[in-house]
């Protein structure tokens, strides 16, 4: 008799399985989890801690907070950050001081580990929430983070 009870129980499990998919079929319009990506660009907000790419914020006077200490460059595991710096005479104190010429960031090599931002003593760099990083040409992934003509914000020291 177990032959028939096997069949019966087998069919029962199949039908209960079908009831699960059937339930979702009936609720498919409300429960759909699809994100309609390019259309929902307006409403799609990344979390504030999202690691999109490293940026260097500038204030309205075109001033940044990077002193060129190179701690981020050392912290980076992949050689993503290169700082080109120069010693220049500070007009106020008259002493020679390390100033950045270019803060080069290779987005293509970045693994978004966050060690550079942890290492930065002056909060000069931070994460941007931008996630649309694809480009047609790989060279455009190499970015200079400090804007042309920008200078160090007064009062920022290592």
């Amino acid at each position: 008799m177990s032959y028939f009870s096997d069949i019966f129980n087998g069919i029962k499990t199949l039908l209960t399985g079908m009831s699960v998919t059937g339930k979702y079929f009936l609720h498919s319009q409300q429960d759909a989890i699809t994100q309609q990506y390019p259309e929902n660009r307006e409403t799609l907000k990344m979390f504030e801690r999202f690691r999109g790419e490293v940026v260097m914020p500038h204030d309205e006077n075109n001033e940044h907070r990077c002193t060129g200490c190179q701690k981020c460059e050392i912290a980076c595991p992949n050689g993503t950050i290169e700082i080109i710096w120069d010693r220049q005479v500070d007009p106020e104190t008259g002493k020679k001081k390390k100033l950045i010429e270019k803060h080069v960031y290779h987005l293509g090599m970045c693994t978004m580990c966050g060690l550079c931002i942890e290492a930065c003593p002056t909060d000069a760099i931070k994460w941007a929430q931008n996630f649309e990083n694809s480009v047609y040409d790989r060279t455009t992934l190499t970015r200079v983070l400090n804007k042309p003509g920008s200078k160090l914000m007064p009062g920022v020291e290592d």
């Binding site: 199949l14 699960v20 989890i33 801690r49 690691r51 595991p77 693994t111 580990c113 942890e118």
Partner: protein, 373 residues
Amino acid sequence: METSTKNNNFKSEEYFINMGPQHPATHGVLRLLLTIDGETIKNVEPDLGYIHRSIEKMCERDSYQQIVHLTDRMDYLSSNINNEAVCLAVENALQIEVPDRVKVIRTIFDELTRIASHNLWWGVMGMDVGALTTYFYAFRDREMINDIFEETCGARLTMNYNIPGGLMFDIHPNFVKRVKEFIAHFKTKLPEYDTLLTNNVIFQKRMRGIGMLSKEDAISYGASGPVGRGSGYSCDVRKTHPYSALDKVTFNEALRTEGDSFARYEVRIQEMWESISIVEQLIDNIPEGDYKVATNAVIKLPKGEFYQKVETARGELGVYIISTGTKNPYRLKFRSPGFSNLSLLNHIAVGGKIGDLVASMATLDLVIPDIDR
């Protein structure tokens, strides 16, 4: 055949099949050289290295903080647990005691990672035996965990949240609320998994009695995690060598004695329940305090050898550091669970059909970057 094969006395009715490196069931770039007689598997020889990046060599030139982010890329489904393994090894070597808050948060993250990993495995398990819908149901629930991770760590998969000495930053204010929401949601969905797949008669027929692994063989092959526990081998590192806040919680080690594919399946399902219970025990009791202790900017480990084992979603991950007192490890070896688990694939698959190979391989829950490193 350019790769040497074990089976030199190759019979005329047998033939080779090259399964992978591009094959839907190998979940990545695993290549299996199958010797088949009709539909019956005669020999399985894995050929690895298609995603080998020599992480161990890279570690020898990196500082201890930098090593952590490389472990994200080994077993990417339990990345937080991998991170923690390295951090624990470094902390033990430096004899740093991290605050209780860090321990609790780490454990919560570990268990959420474990749920996420088992969840994805469940979806893929269904796909491997032909039930395609499981994948989407699993991903719906996993998405919530990923959102929790993203909100706190800023990344969904390669989180790099642990640093030697604690955590990179404190948990997000929404964290507790979201975790509770997830737990409430997931508790209603997990029984559905059973109705849809576990109890299904076809699925049970496919899994029961297939891929038999005895307890002795499991130990001898170095099986760990759900693969070992499905064979009745009590190998949960969380029980045998508790770390972080695991000594504060009570949970049952999921054990099955059958040793077949279905036992391994059941172990993972039960582990999801146990992980939920661990998270529930801790989520209301996150102690106040610092989220990290200060370490030197340049970490130098004392001369010596350090070994730390943790339980990832796949099994026992070991981090073996040999330090000569410099800022880089002299040698760093990852004992990855997948590598040992893969070595028993030949043992459990021989004699079965091609469909059995796929089903029992799915219960090993292989992640190829974890095996190749």
